[in-house]
């Protein structure tokens, strides 16, 4: 073997990466070069050492650790198993029909629809409470004499000015306040838009 014989070739030979022809040529060269032969042998020895060392290391781990590991794996598999049927159940088995499509849409956006409905209800309630009363309503309220079953409009004073919102707390969403003018006066609308959620995906 030439003195310049590349060590990388020796390594490739030791690792069985050379083709048949290259291997044969290198074997012939190794027969004449004891130094190169020793390098190839040393690669093999290092491999044996590492393999033995790592296998002994694995054997040294107490069985109890692996028993505990299996229990964790078992739990993990259980969790995966629970997740799969849940997903499968969410997939409709039949297709077609407008109501079914609506149902699928509702299943998909159930969270948004419910949140939207609750938000709309809250907005409507607030709008009613914050609405400026008409002169007729004010007369009615004045003439009622404060009967026990009457609800007093205590939340908003009749100032003929739009309601002033000092603060708006809309967790998991965005709140927007509108003041709408119409023939009944000024109506304050608080519009709540829920944030996108990844829950359940």
């Amino acid at each position: 073997m030439s003195k310049k014989q590349h060590d990388a070739d020796l390594m490739a030979f030791a690792d069985g990466e050379l083709d048949e022809k290259q291997s044969r040529e290198l074997e012939d060269a190794l027969a004449r070069d004891s130094g190169a032969r020793a390098k190839v042998d040393a690669i093999g020895e290092l491999g044996d050492l590492l393999r033995g060392h790592l296998e002994l290391g694995a054997d040294a781990v107490p069985s109890k650790k692996f028993d505990a590991l299996w229990r964790e794996i078992d739990k993990g598999i259980e969790r995966e198993g629970v997740a799969e049927p849940a997903k499968a159940a969410a997939v409709p088995t039949e297709a077609g029909g407008f109501m079914r499509k609506v149902g699928r849409w509702f299943d998909r956006y159930r969270g948004h629809v419910l949140t939207g409905a609750v938000s709309a209800g809250a907005v409507a309630a607030l709008a009613l409470l914050l609405r400026n009363p008409t002169p007729e309503m004010r007369d009615q309220q004045a003439g009622s004499g404060g009967g026990s079953n009457k609800i007093e409009p205590t939340l908003v004073k009749d100032t003929h000015e739009p309601a002033e919102i000092e603060s708006l707390d809309t967790p998991d969403g965005t709140g927007t306040v509108f003041n709408l003018e119409d023939e009944d006066g000024t109506t304050t609308v608080i519009w709540v838009t829920p944030d996108d959620t990844v829950e359940g995906i």
Binding site: D7, G35, R51, G52, L54, L56, I77
Partner: protein, 227 residues
Amino acid sequence: MNKEGQRASTGRDPVDDRELVESARKGDREAFRTLFERYHRRAYALAFGVLRHQDDALDVVQDAFIKAHKYLDKFEGNSSFYTWLYRIVMNLAIDHLRKHRRTRPVELDEQHLEEGSTTGDDSLLPKILGANPGRALLDKEIRARIDQALGELSENHRAVLVMRELEGLSYEEMAQAMGCSKGTIMSRLFHARKNMQKRLADLVDHKIVENENEDATDDAAASGSRA
């Protein structure tokens, strides 16, 4: 390695593995546990060789078995179950390295393995032990030095070395597993081996001389007793 590991490494029961996989696919948890019993230590050795941390290696083995179970349907039986499993272990171990990358010694991956570049300090050594590696592994000091030398390698160098020496992966397979070129794999492997040899050579020479002296003493004692 223990009997389970030995049996696994000889690959004498691939049919059994396929049957177990088939049963596990149908929901037989015990069948999957048998696969775990067969291969967990070998999978651990691979993960530990790369990660050098027991808990991290156990985490990777745990994730690998859970993933293997989840994707059993994707296992087509073209390779052995363990071949499929070690790829999962290796991918997870490499992912783990990427996610938890720490500062490591400078790598020489880009250094070309050109003719003439492997002389002097840059060449492979012609000797590691000059004796039986199995015998050397009985020496705690030698094992501690192997451990230390492995730990001093860069993560990429260590991963390649472990894949090659423990699982016998080809350069092409390692290139696929690590997402790099075959040339980079060769370079990493070359430098990993050279560094390991350099770190082990002095101690091993010293220990082997000691061991040989002990052998000579033992032989003399033995021949004395026989006489």
